[in-house]
Amino acid sequence: MRNGRRRFSLKNSLMTKYLLIIVSALVLIPFVYPLIAVLLTVQIWAGHHGDTEPYRSASHLESIWHEEAARLDGATPEKIDAELRRLKSVYPKASMFWVDASGRTRLRLPDGQEVPAQWSVPYTVQFMKEASNFRIFTVVAFLGDKPGHGFMVLKVPREAFESPAAIMDARQGTILISGILIVLGLFLFVSLLFFYRIRRRLVLLQQAMSEPTDSGIPSPVETGRSDEIGRLEQSFNEMIRKLERSREREAEEEALRRDLIAKLSHDLRTPLTAIRGHAYSLGQEKLSDKGRESLRLIDRKIDYLGRLIENLLSFTLLTSGKYPYRPQRVDIVRMAKTLFAGWYPAFEQAGFEIDSDLPETAIYWELDPQWLERVLDNYLQNVLRHAQSGRYVGLKVSEADGGTIIIEDRGPGMTGESEEKGAGIGLSIAALMLRDMRLQSEVLSGPEGTTVRISRG
């Protein structure tokens, strides 16, 4: 980067940034398991503290249950009911009931447990057997701690005492997968953000490039960071500056050339006029036929040079857009008629048969009449100079298709040999002007003659 103000550095590279993102994702994955585990453990312990606290452990609960039963010695059934309800509110996960001395089931909390209303001996035995079920922790305590007074039963699902470590053990797989998913999601999100921002900057740059100002050159963009895109923006601005400078230089040169040609054309015309004057004076003298013929030739060449100079100047002005164009609504029938009227005597004198055909109604076009006049002049001059052999000129305006101006001749055609080939610049000027006026010209030229049709196309 010879011209770069900021040198390329890895630190500012987009590539480095993205590599960093990938590496941090890779590094994060091994840490996922311990990290998540720690997080979960903390959370579970925190949860255990509140939620599983009254259950604490099976033995603790068992002793509480027995204490309660002992305290209810000789209590009335209502008191026992009230006590059980209180206990239920302390241990909501537990279910409990009590059976009186006659073996009848009293209060059940919650209601609807599969417990017979009247306890028989076989059922009692069966109940005690089932009470050793691993999943449900069951405590049976005699009221007043003595058999015969009835008993109360507490059932608690074993999960209520389960330790966090046990829970963690069970969820191990889920934790790992969800951890990886989280990291992956995070990685995708960061990548997306990364590329979205790159894309946005690129789109902005593209818009700046494709929206040129009036001068045809895009305006510079604001440069931000010094990464790859930032340097692209700087180069873009640099390019615009160069373009503007060269455009200015070009305009200056163009103006210089225009002035030069304008001056030159005047400076050429003056001696040419003097030559003509002297040739004319010479013509007043007594001369041989050969001398007269030479003078005639000189005269013709002077005419030709004069036209060349005029065309050169017009062409220069036209191509640099300095030929004044003032469009207005013009009746082309009337314009063509006046123009043909001016050319008529010249054609007549050259022995042309003149076929003019113009409509009675006006046809309006929007253009600079001087331009159209100049174009038609060039074509008519071309006919007069190069199509004399045909002795025919057609000057017509047709109403078809919004108007068509037609100039016909029966000369050797534009490709045919003619004395002054260099005058082709006149036709180039006509073509240029027609293009700028958005008119269409159709030129049919062959050995039988040439037809020029000018229309709005």
Binding site: L272, G277, Y280, D303, A341
Partner: protein, 224 residues
């Protein structure tokens, strides 16, 4: 009486030659090599021939000044009409244009036309076919019988317009606007009708007109 031409040209070679040529053709020529004194001399001239490219004041400024000082003196500009400078577009003061290198015959012919257009050739009588026209008396006489041909005012105006522009082809739009002094309306037949009546009076054979020639599709012409 010889017509006075004020000729402004900086190039000595050309100036000398044109002055001599015009004098040979019967003009009285005052040749100035710069435009500084042109405006004060213009009043005494009948015609002005002005070169555009001049040292000091440029031709445009001088032309505009001349037209202000002497609006009735026609100006022939030695430049291209469709040329060049933006300024030329606003060139309303010039009555005609001639591009260098012009031919002396062309210059003389243009000066003739300009004089006629400005009514300067106050000829006593104009011959046109069998007609004798006396512009000052506004009368047209049949040369064979020596009797006056009675023309309406408009017919006379049309005929005079043709004579002022003798040799040029005139469209009916041009004739209408010159004689009636108002813009031509599309499809108007007034000019055709007037010319038909005019021909009935002045042509020997109105169905085969010899004086006012019809140029098909374009207009009319009175040959010189």
């Amino acid at each position: 009486m010889a017509k006075r031409v004020l000729y402004i040209e900086d190039d000595a070679d050309i100036g000398q030659w044109v002055k001599e040529d015009l004098e040979r053709r019967g003009y009285e020529v005052e040749w100035l090599q710069s435009g500084d004194r042109a405006a004060e001399r213009a009043a005494q001239a009948d015609l002005v021939v002005l070169d555009v490219m001049l040292p000091g004041l440029d031709g445009f400024t001088i032309g505009q000044r001349l037209k202000r000082e002497a609006p009735n003196v026609p100006i022939l500009m030695l430049s291209a009409r469709t040329s060049v400078d933006d300024k030329l577009q606003g060139l309303q003061f010039a009555d005609d244009y001639l591009t260098k290198p012009f031919h002396p015959d062309e210059l003389a012919a243009r000066l003739e036309v300009l004089q006629r257009r400005y009514g300067l050739s106050a000829e006593q009588q104009i011959q046109c076919g069998h007609l004798l026209i006396k512009p000052e008396l506004q009368t047209v006489i049949d040369g064979r019988t020596n009797e006056e041909i009675p023309l309406t005012a408009k017919q006379l105006q049309i005929l005079m317009y043709f004579l002022r522009n003798r040799g040029l082809i005139l469209t009916k739009e041009q004739i209408y606007e010159a004689v009636w002094g108002e813009p031509y309306m599309e499809g108007d037949k007034t000019v055709n009708v007037h010319i038909r009546y005019l021909r009935e009076k002045i042509e020997l054979d109105p169905s085969n007109p010899q004086i006012i020639e019809t140029i098909r599709g374009i207009g009319y012409r009175v040959r010189p």
